[in-house]
């Protein structure tokens, strides 16, 4: 009995509402418009500052549409505008997508909820946006850049002044001496593999850097380093690096060029040679420093079988578990790239390393804050500031656009 009556009541209320909306008048036009070039941009945006329509209230804010023309009374076309700020006596709209140095005329109108538009209010003056030397939206980016670069420079200066910079112990790099020492005591060679890729890979270059240290130690201990390569360029670079290391150690006479040789570009052809070499020569120390793929486990297991101390270093996440399980020590990604600074103790490299750590710290903090804000926003949707903060981080601070 009660349900039909309720439906009837709702239908009546709906019809009554529609008739009220149909009878509403368009809103009053906005007040005086002032237009000025947006500060710190690429000359593509202007800010329209207008006095709100008389019909606007805090409970029912109005939309504003903006039109632009290149002549005072020319043909206007609608432009997208975003509200920059809004108060009881001023609404600031940002219009983007303009052409730097060209004259632009603007007019604006208020639109109510029903979509009715007021009369146009035109700006009294035109504006020609100017390209600024710095994009103000990238200020956060500048701050981060300054912090990271400033830290690098500051740490380099600090290291040069003789201050001791603490760097976490990297066991794998410390163990190089031990591995070469083992080879010396056992009277067997050290085997060095700088990956299966060419010199254009950063990991191969890092591998050559570590080779310098291994070769220097081998020269000092009077041990032998054997290095088959899978790229001819790597062979050339390795030879020069090793020769320089032997000279640094004061043993240029002990350097033997033919111990570093090219095998083949073929991945598994190369691996077959290396594993065969391991079985025959039984090296006491094996170093795998560079970019590796499927061969990582084959090399690691063969080295383990012949009883060698093995030290691996790669930035390939997929290969790390194999190296960790099969080798005595493994340098993981960043550790591998930090090897040069760690081993040389050069103040410039150490300072740079510490400065980069600051950069990583900044990134970690931003990640943490961003995740926190989004989590908060999801937990309490009413906290719009959390969403706004996350948006600012994503769109302003970290946006590449």
């Amino acid at each position: 009995m009660l349900l039909p009556f309720r439906c009837l009541l709702l239908a009546f209320a709906g019809i009554a509402g529609l008739s009220v909306a149909a009878q509403a008048a368009p809103p009053s036009p906005p007040g005086a418009i002032e237009v000025r070039d947006a500060a710190w941009d690429a000359g593509t945006a202007v800010d329209l500052s207008l006095f709100p329509s008389a019909d606007e209230s805090q409970d029912a804010p109005l939309e504003y549409v903006v039109q632009m023309s290149h002549e005072q009374n020319g043909v206007f076309r609608e432009m997208p505008a975003t509200v920059e700020s809004r108060s009881s006596n001023q609404v600031v709209l940002r219009v983007a997508g303009l052409t730097a140095g060209q004259e632009h005329w603007f007019r604006a109108a208020a639109v109510n909820e029903a979509g009715e538009r007021s009369a146009w209010t035109a700006a009294g003056t035109s504006v020609s946006p100017v390209q600024q030397w710095f994009d103000g939206r990238k200020l956060g980016f500048l701050a981060i850049l300054s912090t990271v670069c400033g830290s690098i420079l500051a740490f380099i200066a600090l290291a040069r002044s003789g201050a001791r910079l603490w760097i976490r112990r990297i066991t794998g790099l410390d163990a190089i001496d031990e591995a070469v020492g083992r080879a010396t005591e056992m009277g067997r060679p050290c085997l060095y593999i700088a990956g299966v890729q060419d010199l254009n890979e950063i990991e191969t270059i890092a591998g050559i850097t570590v080779l310098s240290r291994v070769a220097e130690k081998a020269a000092e201990y009077d041990a032998t380093v054997v290095m088959p390569t899978s790229r001819s360029l790597v062979m050339t670079a390795a030879r020069e690096t090793t020769q320089a290391a032997y000279m640094t150690a004061g043993r240029p006479d002990a350097y033997q060029e033919d111990r570093i040789y090219y095998v083949t570009d073929e991945q598994f052809g190369f691996v077959a040679h290396v594993t065969g070499l391991m079985q025959r020569e039984k090296p006491a120390a094996c170093f795998y420093m560079g970019q590796f793929y499927a061969e990582s486990l084959m090399l690691g297991e063969t080295g383990n079988t012949v009883g060698a101390i093995q030290i691996a270093g790669t930035a390939q996440p997929a290969q790390l578990p194999f190296f960790v399980a099969a080798c005595d020590y493994t340098l993981i990604g960043e550790e591998f790239f930090a090897a040069s600074a760690y081993l040389s103790g050069d103040p410039d490299q150490l300072g740079s390393l510490k400065g980069q750590d600051v950069g990583k710290l900044v990134v970690a903090v931003l990640l943490f804050v961003g995740c926190g804000l989004l989590t908060l926003q999801n937990l309490a949707p009413s906290q719009t500031w959390a969403q706004a903060g996350a948006d600012w981080l994503a769109n302003s601070l970290l946006s590449s656009g």
């Binding site: 020492g181 010396t184 005591e185 009277g187 000092e220 009883g307």
Partner: protein, 609 residues
């Protein structure tokens, strides 16, 4: 003369021939137990005009005999053996460190591997290692030859290469020794004894290079594989050559060797032996220290990888008289001053050091001097222990077994085997520790310098009897251990120390101590020390509940219930955390040091200063 059966040993005479004094002790079977009954000493007579070490031995033995009412030396100046009718002794044993002890040069291929093993073998045998020659010691060959020529060691220990390993490097080392033509310290008439304990494949080549130049003995490789050390044969060879060459050429030692019923051992080697025997019989980890005027010896026996590992180090420049200046230079005056609980500035400290240098044999006559010496001793002991921990490591160059779980925690070889948390017994000897006027001072010096963690028993060697007992352990281990526990050691008490750190004043741990019908309980704020008197024959049940992150031996934050032994000092509760931190400001530091000194009742007359 054959040795009597162990059960027939009733009277034992033992001497230790030091550089300046020959100390004799008499060990007798009393009521079925071996006890040290009398002791005597006489000046060592190895130098001119007497130049016969046995004269000092006879003098010391005569003194002991007179005290005991048992003649030990006959009219001809010979020791009376066997014991009969209240005269003589059953056996006579001796150690010797006269003439600077046994000085050795060691060589190896890689400094951290075979050369380190050779050094361990030499130190363990009681030698002082003068230098270590290795392929990677960063010296050019001519510098190494020059160094070998300059040193005049008693013997050389050569190691290097695993069995089947490098021959080249080992022969290269022999080729350094050959042209250097090293001369022994004593006796220009005989050739330098050289022990080769390296790669067996290299032995014939080494023999070829060194023939007609040195007296070469070849023993088993002390590092047959890198994963294993085999120091026994090398140590035995050192002892044999010590007797055959070094001792035989020192004045009067040929007679002394003939008198002794067991091989004469270098004093530190004997100390090491008794500590190993104690650790083995009681199944504990032990650290012993002997601080002298010029050097400090640290011994440790720790369980590592399922076996007992013995290590000894000699810190040649850390001592309380001749080396005091070096202690100050290595530690720095502020570090020494931090242990001084009275007003004393750096200038005054400096003056005291210089005075001690000028008159190294003086002993403190005032409380200020005593406090000064004990402050220096803490730093000397701390530095010596630091060196020991760095030397007493697991073997380097060993393959590691990994799993994926080790990705972020890869431990390398060469980690120290000395772990203060596992330390059970800390034994002190040497003038500044043994002759401290109060036992509390000895205990405090040990705790401050060694920073034991968890539960550690503290003891001191009453009259530096450990060398005698070390050599006795070779003949009659049970007798040696009995005397060691009953008469040699004076148990100071037990230290329960918390490892970890928190804010000063916050609770470090809570304790309940029950002994007899007494009970003590309370809370230890971080930074505090507390002494609970617990007599030498008493034991107590202790229950410690540490704060979060603090470890007293059962793991961080985990409670500990233990039975502990008392001593002449008692039970010391140490809530100062590890490592020990003292304020940098001098006045604040002095106040803290004063508080700790009062807590342990170290200097009852402190108020009078």
């Amino acid at each position: 003369m054959p040795l009597p059966a162990p059960e027939n040993l009733n009277v034992i005479l033992a001497t230790d021939c030091g550089s300046t004094t020959t100390k004799a002790i008499l060990i007798e079977k009393v009521n079925g137990h071996y006890r040290q009954t009398f002791r005597g000493e006489a000046p060592t007579t190895v130098e001119e005009p007497v130049a016969d070490v046995t004269v000092g031995v006879v003098n010391a033995a005569t003194e002991v005999g007179e005290l005991a009412g048992r003649p030990l030396v006959d009219e001809q100046g010979q020791l009376i053996r066997p014991a009969r009718d209240g005269r003589g002794c059953d056996i006579y044993i001796s150690t010797s460190s006269a003439g600077g002890g046994l000085q050795m040069l060691v060589t190896g291929v890689v400094r951290e591997m075979t050369a380190a093993s050779a050094k361990r073998a030499a130190l363990g045998a009681g030698a002082i290692v003068m230098d270590t020659i290795a392929s990677n010691d960063k010296r050019r060959p001519h510098e190494q030859i020059q160094r070998i020529r300059e040193l005049r060691p008693d013997m050389i220990l050569m190691a290097g290469g695993t069995d089947g390993g490098t021959v080249t490097h080992v022969v290269q080392t022999a080729e350094l020794i050959a042209p250097a033509r090293p001369q022994p310290r004593f006796g220009g008439q005989y050739r330098m004894p050289v022990i080769f304990a390296g790669n067996r494949d290299a032995a014939p080549h080494v023999a070829e290079v060194l023939k007609d130049i040195v007296d070469l003995s070849i023993v088993e490789n002390l590092r047959p594989v890198l994963e294993q050390e085999n120091l026994g044969p090398a140590r035995d060879a050192i002892h044999d050559l010590f007797l055959e060459h070094v001792m035989a050429h020192a004045p009067g030692y040929d007679k002394l060797i003939a008198w002794a019923d067991a091989p004469i051992m270098p004093t530190p080697g004997a100390v090491g032996d008794i500590l190993q025997e104690i650790a083995r019989q009681r199944g504990i980890n032990v650290v012993g220290v002997d601080i002298g005027g010029a050097t400090t010896d640290v011994f440790s026996v720790f369980e590592s990888g399922g076996q007992s590992v013995f290590n000894r180090t000699v810190s040649a420049n850390l001592g309380m008289s001749y080396s005091i200046s070096n202690v100050c230079s290595e530690a720095g005056f502020p570090m020494i001053l931090r242990w001084v609980p009275i007003e004393m500035n750096e200038r005054e400290l400096r003056n005291r050091v210089k005075n001690k240098m000028i008159r190294p044999t003086t002993i403190p006559q005032t409380l200020e001097s005593l406090i000064f010496e004990q402050a220096v001793s803490r730093e000397a002991l701390r530095l010596a222990y630091l060196q020991h921990r760095e030397f007493a490591t697991t073997l380097k160059g060993v393959q590691q077994q990994r799993s994926v779980g080790d990705t972020f925690s890869q431990q390398s070889g060469g980690a120290s085997v000395v772990d203060n948390m596992k330390l059970d017994l800390l034994v002190a000897s040497g003038g500044v520790l043994s002759h401290a006027p109060r036992m509390e001072q000895t205990a405090a010096m040990l705790i401050d310098a060694f920073e034991p963690e968890g539960v550690t028993e503290l003891a001191k060697d009453s009259i530096f009897m450990m060398p005698h007992l070390g050599v006795l352990a070779q003949v009659h281990p049970q007798a040696a251990v009995e005397v060691f526990e009953r008469d040699c050691l004076i148990t100071l008490g037990t230290c329960i120390a918390a490892a970890g750190a928190t804010r000063p004043g916050r609770e470090c741990f809570r304790y309940v101590v029950e002994f007899g019908d007494q009970r003590a309980e309370g809370e230890m704020p971080f930074g505090d020390l507390r002494l609970i008197r617990l007599g030498p024959e008493q034991t107590a049940r202790v229950e410690i509940t540490p704060a979060r992150g603090v470890d007293v031996g059962a793991g961080p934050g985990k409670p500990l219930v233990r039975e502990v032994r008392g001593g002449t000092v008692g039970l010391i509760l140490d809530a100062r955390g590890r490592p020990l931190q003292l304020p940098e400001n001098r006045e604040e530091c002095r106040i803290v040091a004063d508080r700790w000194a009062r807590a342990l009742e170290m200097y009852p007359d402190l108020n009078s200063l």
